[in-house]
Symmetry: D4
Subunit: 145 residues, 8 copies
């Protein structure tokens, strides 16, 4: 039985690669999906479309294009892993978590203990909280094993 | 025709009061709902239940109780207004926005221009972005007028 | 038993008034709802919000505000009446019809015989096609009688 | 990961072919679907069924048959592209857009700048607005890339 | 707590009146709803609309108008009672039962023992089978009591 | 693109075989599904389970087992064809049609002109009415072509 | 704002009365609903209907009637409280919890610490676990306050 | 046509193996899925995650992880078989049944006659009640045959 896992959130560390490698090493039948993780490309996703815009509307246009991908992949996943790093506001990750909760998609959060209190609502709706990619792989191995 | 508007997010300024007063002064037939906005009470919402817990589990227990209120009010509202202040991470506000988006509940964001870029995904799924409570009242007056 | 009927479409003739008066004269217990029908106000619905915009983005901003009203009223109605006049493209009326069809909201179309062929997909998904406001009132009186 | 994209709207120019060729040249794993694009065949879709009818009922009968295809393909697509040409009323395209919006299917509109104002409600609910088939291919390549 | 009960099916005997009177005598807080039960009026429900039609299309037009009422009332009821008499094919009653089953609306069937075998699929999806209006009233009194 | 078509209704003539053969001859990529069409086996579907029962409960038990199949196949089909013969009450076919209508599954009815009036509600919610298996095959060929 | 709370589970102690009295004393605007709590009446709910049955079918018939009430009240509640006592198997209470979880209805469990381990799946999907009716009232007062 | 059947409930006897072997011997095209059936592993499913916890929170953490698997498999199955043994409280099995009922997933219960009365609500919502794995295989063979 094949499984699809969406990896949402932080794009500045290699947590996705660690999870994908760990899953691969253990032979898990998982197809991982992600948003576009190239920050500059993501910010420019709508630049090829008119009207040429700066600021709010540039962000709006690119976010519309990115949402085509992210909502589709959330809708098609069996689970999500939602990662919060220690920098930036990462509201898009919390937004994805809220979508998962409303759609009944189970998700695991991945973050340091320092973020427990500000993430309490996001963690409460999660199935599990992990602190390392290795723990995520262990959980996935157990869950689909 | 009565309308119900859920006011999500920041609890450290008086934006809710300003919106409620503005709506009242203009005679709008709106019932406003909110999460519990007393920070200490919200953090302690589950303290009366066992097991007595600290840290992660205390937050988890309180968040479970608070979610009974917040998800119910989101489910029963016609619109939401989602406020992001300039302090704190406010992931719960972005989480509420994600739930609204998935449930098809229209929402307006309320935040300063300084937050445009980090909130671009949340704003893209919104019906409108306002910077002041007065703008929110103007929009509500137009929408339900 | 009270009924709510949404009146979508053309804003340049008095068809809404005729239906509302006809229903009132026959004592039908119907609450009618509508989009904002003041054309200039509707086009300017987002003008009070930044960024100040022209062209595409002005339309986008105003449409976002107007959709808060229209989707909400479509979601809360028991039926819709969707009117196509003989001028303008009126794609918003066909868009509303598509939303009604997908949401399972029964609707009646109201248009002249000259529009039968271009409206065939919209009419096929409708419960009935009427040519005059009087016919609509007759249908409503029968349906809720 | 395979993707399915529904191409709705105008049937008098070769925009579908351009998108399909562009996607093929870039090796995108997309299955494109469409309504029946032979105008005469589409109008006659129900002619083999009784009662033999002209005018309204002929259109009604054929539209019922065509809707078997179009609603099914909309329901099974990951995204839609909805094209408005500069001729005809094309209410069926706006109707499809409304269905997509209500079903949560992301869509891109494809039309000239001259149609911005009359299509503002349809564009507001879209994820992006493109003016050329090449832009659509670029967006698809980015989104599924 | 008020309850709404839809009374579907046979229109040639006084079973609706018996249930309504029985419920009234026992002081049950039930609002009963029904299709239009005047057979001739129901067959003519669309006659005021063009195209003037006979046979299949007349039936189609009237059924479209009647369905505005019946589907709405099914959607708004808490329960349905679905009556099968000993005459006529009454496929509309079985159709209503199928809609109730798919929508999760609990229903009671009301028919003679002679119809057990042909109604086995309809009865299996029902919450109860009654043979007399008095039994239906007893069940309603118990259920909402 | 593969399609699944559920063939509901009459089990005493060879209409299913005719449709399957016609589709096969035209090379249509359709997987046909059906209820169990062996009348005696269907009536006995629950006989192996206790309590050993006659009459109402035997029918109830067998219908429960049969519904496992029929509802599942209706839920998984792209379209249904619903056949009414000239004998028997065939309430299960009308029940299936009601389920399809509520679930948004497009269906075609297949019956003689003599049944137009009693089937008017079932036909109104259908996408098309056919009188012969050959017409059904023609429609399917057009729709998926 | 009025709230509706469904009280599911154990019928042999006075926990419902304690919650209702506590809520009343604190002036909470809550309408409480419950299954029929008279055990003998509940077991006999279908006895007035034929076929007269014993054992499995008697239970089946009565459960069908009771489910008309319970599923309706679960569907209409804002929250549920689900009580497990120290006697009997109470599978119906766990069944109600599963329905609530699938429907997105928040619920609180009410049971002694001795039942923590066997109820772990039911508690995990709950918003809170309480051990006394007084705690439930406190939680309700906080949540709707 | 492939089928997926979820086997929920008791983990202390070999009923799953018997069903899987029986289905295999008869060549049924069924993919069986199950919760993790190693009791100790299931209780420890969350032990690798912090906070290290005992009692209620340990159970809560492990149940969260297990629910990722169970709800996903329930959501993806065509049918469920829900087994109640003669020991333990097995509230999780009844909870799964409630989820199936709310989601419209047909299920068969598997239990001894001694449990008829306490399981009457669970059985009433089931499509069938079997007492032996052999009966389940017979039913599956019939249903998908």
């Amino acid at each position: 039985m094949a499984w699809t896992v969406y990896l949402s959130g932080e794009i500045h560390t290699d947590w996705r690669e660690k999870i994908e490698q760990g899953a691969s090493q253990r032979g898990l039948d998982i197809h991982f999906t992600s948003p576009v993780t190239d920050h500059a490309a993501s910010d420019a996703a709508g630049d090829l479309l008119e009207p040429v815009s700066e600021g709010y509307w540039r962000d709006h246009k690119s976010s519309g294009v990115n949402a085509m991908r992210t909502r589709n992949l959330i809708g098609r996943c069996d689970f999500a892993v939602i990662r919060f790093g220690d920098k930036y506001r990462q509201w898009n990750a919390a937004f994805d978590a809220g979508m998962c909760a409303a759609l009944g998609k189970p998700y695991v959060t991945l973050h340091d203990a320092a973020l427990i209190h500000p993430l309490k609502e996001v963690d409460q709706a999660a199935q599990a909280w992990a602190q390392t990619p290795e723990q995520v792989v262990d959980i996935l191995a157990y869950v689909i094993g």
